[in-house]
């Protein structure tokens, strides 16, 4: 038999045959290791847990079109590829327009969006009823619902009135093939004369309509029905001038000049000039406690149908990442897609980072305290063990054990206990962390395979450190105590 085998035999015998005493030491290490393993697990898992919690407080990044650019659904999905898999919790697109409720002569801000994504980016939305699941359904903000008195199942007739204000283009810039132009000029007696023209594929006038209702009916007022006057304008390029093959209507020279003037100053108007009306069924009432309660929500498809455009004003993104990562993603998006602007919702991202920091600091502190308490506990137990075994230690020394042999034996027992307690702690600690996680965060925890070796090594180190003082006492025992005296 080698010395090492005898050493192990003595240590295991000491632990196995003196069960009750060693069980206390094992228990103190085991409980310490359990709490440690549990806290470490939570510590490691906290960013994920808190991140998930924070994702329920809404989006932490916005994507917007840059000035003069547009953001389409297609462009959005292309942009979203910048995020690694699993980091993107949700991305809700929004298009905001005013919709008129003709029956009540009121207009509301309506958002076209993707309801499935809303449930992910804005999980705090509280819905009475349900999200729209089909086209021609609307989710109504609580404030609007209260004002106009709609209920789930009510019908709302909504109209989209295209914006017709003249664009910023100059008359010259407006004369492009296929454009619809309209302009005005002062006519006879100070009354306004309105004229519109549609250009053909060569940017020449295809047709002209005039509004001369302010002019004297017998004179200028005749121009609106005068085919001869209007037809001489078609086929020509703007600008026009009287005399150059264009004759003024006799007795209405001022009005004729005003019409030509109006056409020369005419600028482009939007193509979809037709208002669009549709009936929507209310499927749900939205309560958020915020400004969303003053909005109507319809599907993006309905929004496209109403406006005739595939345009987004903004996309709200919920990304599972810390501030630094978010900034990296934003930069990457802006570099790759010049037309898109990526902004962090600083309030959410920052508070997430600060809460996380505080929480990890707290867990770290508690871990440290538990570590210390465990050490004190194990040390006290080992101290009791040493004093209980004074005679045995004295005997071993009398039999010729050197101080180092005594150290090795107690350290060996300590390490053995530490290893055993560590395994116990790793298993129970995971259970503990799981229970805490389910109760506090409402979600289960991911098992860290590294936890087992780390816990075992840490408990062995704790046990070894805790044994230092007791070992010092053991070494100091005088072998002479085994002689008859005591």
């Amino acid at each position: 038999m080698t010395k090492r085998r005898m050493f192990l035999r003595m240590i295991t015998a000491s632990l196995l045959r003196r069960r009750s005493r060693m069980l206390i030491a094992l228990l103190s290490i085991g409980i310490g290791a359990t709490i440690l393993a549990g806290l470490v697990t939570i510590y490691v898992d906290v960013p994920r847990q808190v991140g998930a919690q924070f994702r329920s407080y809404g989006a932490n990044m916005l994507l917007l079109p840059r000035d003069g650019e547009t953001l389409s659904s297609e462009k959005l999905s292309e942009t979203l590829q910048a995020f690694p898999e699993d980091t993107l919790v949700g991305a809700a697109p929004y298009r905001y327009v005013r919709l008129d409720m003709t029956t009540r002569q009121q207009s509301f801000t309506a958002a076209g969006t993707d309801f499935e994504q809303i449930t992910k980016t804005s999980p705090y939305f509280s819905i009475e009823g349900a999200y729209p699941s089909e086209t021609r359904q609307v989710l109504v903000g609580k404030e609007i619902a209260d004002t106009i008195g709609v209920k789930i199942g009510s019908s709302m007739e909504l109209t989209y009135q295209p914006v017709t204000s003249s664009s910023d283009r100059t008359p010259e810039e407006s004369r492009v093939p296929g454009a619809s132009l309209s302009g005005s000029a002062e006519g006879f007696g100070g009354g306004m004369v309105y004229a519109s023209a549609v250009l053909d594929s060569e940017a020449k006038i295809a047709s002209v309509t005039v509004d001369v209702s302010t002019q004297t009916p017998e004179y200028g007022g005749r121009i609106a029905e005068d085919e001869a006057f209007l037809s001489q304008l078609t086929g020509r390029s703007l600008p026009l001038s009287l005399g150059d093959g264009i004759d003024a209507l006799s007795g209405a020279t001022v009005t004729s000049l005003a019409v030509i003037d109006a056409l020369n100053q005419a600028t482009q108007t939007t193509a979809a000039a037709q208002p669009k009306t549709a009936n929507f069924i209310v499927t749900g009432i939205l309560t958020t406690g915020g400004e969303e309660e003053g909005y109507l929500f319809i599907s993006l498809d309905d929004m496209k149908m109403m406006t005739g455009e595939d345009r987004l004003d903004v996309a709200e993104l919920s990304v599972s990442a810390n501030v630094e990562q978010l900034e990296t993603y934003a930069e990457e998006i802006e570099n790759r897609h010049g037309a898109v602007q990526a902004r962090l919702v600083k309030r959410v991202a920052r508070s997430e980072a600060s809460v996380l920091e505080k929480l990890t600091a707290l867990v770290f502190l508690v871990t440290l305290v538990v570590l210390l308490l465990t050490m004190i506990c194990v040390s006290t137990t080992m101290m009791a063990v040493v004093s209980e075994r004074r005679r045995e230690i004295g005997l071993r020394k009398a039999l010729g054990a050197s101080d180092n042999s005594i150290r090795a034996e107690f350290l060996g027992e300590g390490l053995f206990l530490g290893a055993l307690g560590g395994v116990l702690g790793a298993v129970l600690g995971f259970v503990f962390a799981q229970v805490v996680s389910i109760n506090v965060f409402g979600s289960s925890i991911i098992f860290q395979p590294l936890l087992l070796p780390v816990t075992v090594i840490v408990s062995m180190v704790i046990a070894a450190v805790s044994c230092l003082l007791p070992i010092k006492h053991a070494v100091a025992i005088d072998p002479a105590i085994v002689l008859k005296g005591e």
């Binding site: 003595m10 005997l395 009398a398 039999l399 010729g400 054990a401 002479a480």
Partner: protein
Amino acid sequence: MSLLELKNVSKIYGELKALDNVNIHVDQGEWVAIMGPSGSGKSTMMNIIGCMDKPTKGEVLLDGVDISKESSKRLTDIRRDKIGLIFQQFHMVNYLTAVENVMVSQYYHSMPDEQEALEALGRVGLRERARHLPSQLSGGEQQRVCVARALINHPELILADEPTGNLDEANENIVLDLFAQLHKEGTTLIVVTHDPEVAEAAQRTIVLEHGKVAREVINENFGK
């Protein structure tokens, strides 16, 4: 040839002279008893001979080496190599079996050898009890295990402190018989006792009184 020699040895604790200028010698192979009432300095002498304490004054020669000035680490080595100890209260490691207790002594000395340890237990008549824990052995049996443990490393000197103090007469005789055997094999024995019967089993008795050697008695009936 003397194995152990104390020259003018004194041990002083404050005012108390536990040993006062003691001179004794023990020859190789001799069986000596040390007697004396409580407080006569027996224990102090035992500690010094057993390399567990150092005298305040004087020389202690063990096997020709002066151990009175050695460091405690060195004393541990000498004790381990040259001395086998037997105690009044047996002192076994209570969670180790009889044979393991014998092996502990081998472990500190050199190499544990279970076979040799079992043979030593056989010598004291406990071969069958080798796998028992101390709590399963009688006092006499425990002391016999301790004798086996003391002789396992073939020490030059066996130092026994009241070896029969806690034993009944039958077991006392067994232990004394074992000592007689060891003596025949040439082992030097020093037995500290206050029991005249145990002292009479030895060749020579040194009587201590008040820290001094009061007298030495040669046992004329030795071996008879």
